[in-house]
């Protein structure tokens, strides 16, 4: 089996599998040559985006071991294990577990541990299984080929021509000469591998300093078990938050499935919280996102943002969860319906009626705000004014009849016009810059409507913008 790619109208082997490699097929060979070696070679197209996706997926899955993981070029993942290995019984145990778990997902992993990302990359590619410390790195790298330094192919070819085949051969050469011959980037790669310069790993996501992790010896299969575990994670996180007098503005839960996929669910809160019952209830509607599928063998809970939160006053009268808290209720609504669908209204200084109010987060609206000339404004406003057919005695007067939504209304009385000019300082579309003449009209049944005429003379058009109570 091999993945093939097309280049200059010819098909090349991009990635042969183990069996194909055993028959002598190497990357870069033409498909014709490869077919000559094995007649029964199965091929599939090489899809770089699928590979990037797979690597990203693995990087995310690896967050079960450490919060700092990052895809490395297109064929590996960096894990910053600083301080993490003891949790898994040491680096050797961690590597064994990592390889075994990835193998169950169908991946053959080459893994190595070293003091720098450069050295780890070199060892994982050319001496997998090595665990090097900063003291043994230099020796461990000495026998590796120069390709292990993540160099450009041309640089590698030149080094080979000069007989510099291993990294060890470079140790004794003068840096000045190497820089002169191969450029600045070359020595940086060498320094990165040997830890002379720092190479930070840019993590997949911002590192949350407060994480709660659980690993399961037996994969969980039931959603109820996931819910119970989540509850425990929340409780233990909240206990820690209480000590530091912090609250979260949201939580994200990752569930690691045995098939290598990662389940995610997140919630948000309107104000900082560390109430386990409240936070768990917010997750209630999202539990289906954490479906264990074939089995889930690890979960991580991480806060989205932390804010100071003063300790609660000990309550003397109420011992149950306080049902009367508006913020708690608003959080629940926002988490089920979407934060944008739960709001309050605030006035805006604008002549255009549709701009005279805006949505604000509930619970933040200030009181005693002034709403302009309320009596002359409708109760219901259409976001998109509805075109109507109207008939007026003269183009400058109020209409006598109008037809809205197929119903004809006779105008019994009318008040207007109220001329509302466009806000010329706004760079709006030409139609929105026209002046509108508004009329409050009442039909024969007492129904009250807010109509306006836009445009002048023959070209004028009528719209219905709102309904009075």
């Amino acid at each position: 089996m091999a993945l093939i790619a097309e280049q200059a109208k010819r098909l090349f082997v991009a990635a042969p599998d183990v069996l194909a490699q055993a028959s002598g097929i190497v990357p870069g060979q033409t498909l014709a040559d490869a077919r000559a070696l094995t007649s029964d070679l199965a091929v599939a197209p090489f899809d770089p985006t699928a590979i990037t996706r797979a690597i990203d997926g693995i990087a995310q899955w690896c967050m079960r071991y450490t919060p700092v993981t990052a895809p490395a070029s297109d064929d590996g993942v960096f894990l910053d294990l600083t301080g993490c290995a003891p949790l898994f019984g040491g680096e050797t145990a961690l590597l064994t577990e990592l390889i075994a778990r990835l193998a169950r997902q169908g991946f053959t992993a080459h893994v190595a541990v070293a003091g720098t990302p450069g050295a780890a990359w070199a060892l994982a590619h050319f001496a997998p299984g090595t665990i090097a410390t900063s003291a043994t790195e230099r020796a461990a790298l000495a026998d590796l080929p120069v390709e292990a330094l993540r160099l450009m192919p041309e640089t590698v070819a030149t080094l080979r021509r000069l007989g510099l085949d291993t990294i060890g051969a470079l140790y004794d050469l003068s840096r000045a000469a190497l820089t002169r011959r191969f450029g600045d980037g070359f020595c940086r790669r060498l320094d990165q591998a040997l830890g002379r310069v720092c190479e930070p790993i840019s993590p997949l996501r911002e590192v949350p300093p407060w994480r709660e992790r659980r690993d399961f010896a037996e994969p969980l299969l039931q959603l109820e078990d996931i819910a119970v575990t989540l509850q425990r994670l929340i409780e233990s996180l909240c206990a820690r938050l209480a000590v530091e007098e912090l609250g979260v503005r949201g939580l994200e839960c990752f569930g690691f499935r045995t098939d290598g996929s990662t389940a995610r669910a997140r919630i948000g809160t309107g104000r900082p919280s560390r109430d386990p019952a409240h936070l768990a209830r917010l997750f209630a509607g999202k539990l289906s996102l954490l479906d264990p599928g074939e089995g889930m063998d690890g979960m991580v809970l991480s806060p989205i943002a932390l804010e100071p939160l003063a300790p609660e006053q000990p309550t003397l009268t109420r011992d149950d969860a306080q049902p009367g808290d508006l913020a708690v209720l608003l959080d629940r609504l926002a988490n089920r319906l979407g934060a944008a669908n739960v709001f309050a209204l605030a006035p805006v200084e604008s002549h255009r009626p549709e701009r005279a109010q805006r949505r604000v987060a509930p619970n933040t609206a200030a009181h005693n705000l002034r709403w302009p000339n309320g009596m002359r404004r409708p109760l219901r406003l259409f976001a998109n004014p509805e075109a109507i057919e109207a008939e007026a005695a003269t183009p400058e007067e109020a209409p006598l009849h109008f037809t809205w939504r197929h119903v004809r209304h006779c105008v019994h009385c009318a008040e207007g016009p109220e001329r509302i000019a466009a806000e010329w300082w706004r760079n709006a579309a030409p139609a929105a810059r026209e002046t509108r003449d508004y009329y409050r009209v009442e039909d024969e049944d007492g129904g009250r409507f807010w109509l306006y005429r836009q445009g002048a003379g023959e070209a004028s058009r009528w719209y219905l913008h709102g309904l009075f109570a």
């Binding site: 109010q357 705000l369 259409f382 009385c413 009318a414 007492g446 009250r448």
Partner: protein, 241 residues
């Protein structure tokens, strides 16, 4: 002296008892008082929205909060709530939380949660019809948490109801509302032509429009000769209490 003190104490007790009996209902002036805990269904057009906003404003009484749950479909059909108009109906927009659920199911869930939360003076919902089981649940939640649930329904909707009251509100000429109490648990019913008085926080009866020289400038529209060819729609007004 002692007798006078006892008399004062007795008077205070009587006043408290009267207050307690009044606490459960909201006096509405010309209209029958509205029980604060329970489901009230209000059918009608834009006037019903106004009537509901007015009731909610009166229930909130300047310090309570109101939740208005408006499914996206209602939004397209009847337009968004407009702050200046709400204020004119006596409902301070600052006391209001608006919720736009996508589906009817979410809307009923929202109303029930809001009622159970016990933080709102009134919870308003808009629905195409009054689903019997959901309405029953709303009625129970409203009663249990002493909160008013106001369900806004389209003008023509079958009148089976499980709520405390069922109202019908339509616009009447001159800025007034034609209010009909179609059903009430204690048996009262009737039809009124009323106007909200923002100063006294009560509904005032409006005399039959033909007998009035003109609508008040504050809420009605000035009369004009235009449209005289149209039928003057005057519903007969009667009062039964």
């Amino acid at each position: 002296m002692v007798q006078r003190l006892e008399l004062a104490a007795l008077k205070a007790r009587l006043a408290r008892a009267a207050e307690a009996s009044q606490a459960g209902v909201l006096p509405l002036g010309a209209l029958p008082a509205l029980p604060r805990a329970g489901l009230h269904e209000i059918a009608g057009d834009a006037a019903a929205s106004g009537f509901v906003a007015t009731l909610a404003g009166a229930l909130a009484g300047g310090y309570g909060r109101v939740l208005w749950c408006m499914p996206l479909m209602a939004l397209r059909e009847a337009g968004t709530l407009y702050g200046p108009g709400l204020a004119a109906c006596g409902l301070d927009p600052a006391r209001l939380v608006v919720v736009n659920p996508r589906q009817t199911r979410d809307a009923l869930w929202t109303m029930e949660e809001a009622l159970r939360g016990g933080v709102f003076a009134a919870v308003i919902g808009e629905a195409e019809m009054s689903p019997p089981i959901a309405a029953r649940r709303l009625q129970l939640a409203a009663e249990a948490h002493a909160t008013a649930a106001l369900l806004l329904l389209p003008p023509r909707v079958p009148s089976a109801s499980v709520g405390m009251t069922r109202w019908r509100a339509t616009s009447a000429p001159g800025g007034a509302w034609h209010i009909e109490l179609a059903r009430c648990r204690n048996g009262a019913s009737g039809t009124w032509l009323v106007e909200w008085n923002n100063a006294t926080h009560r509904f005032d009866l409006v005399a039959v429009s033909g007998k009035r020289p003109g609508a008040p400038a504050s809420s009605g529209l000035g009369r004009s000769a235009r449209g005289a060819d149209c039928r003057a729609g005057k519903a007969p007004v009667r009062r039964r209490t």
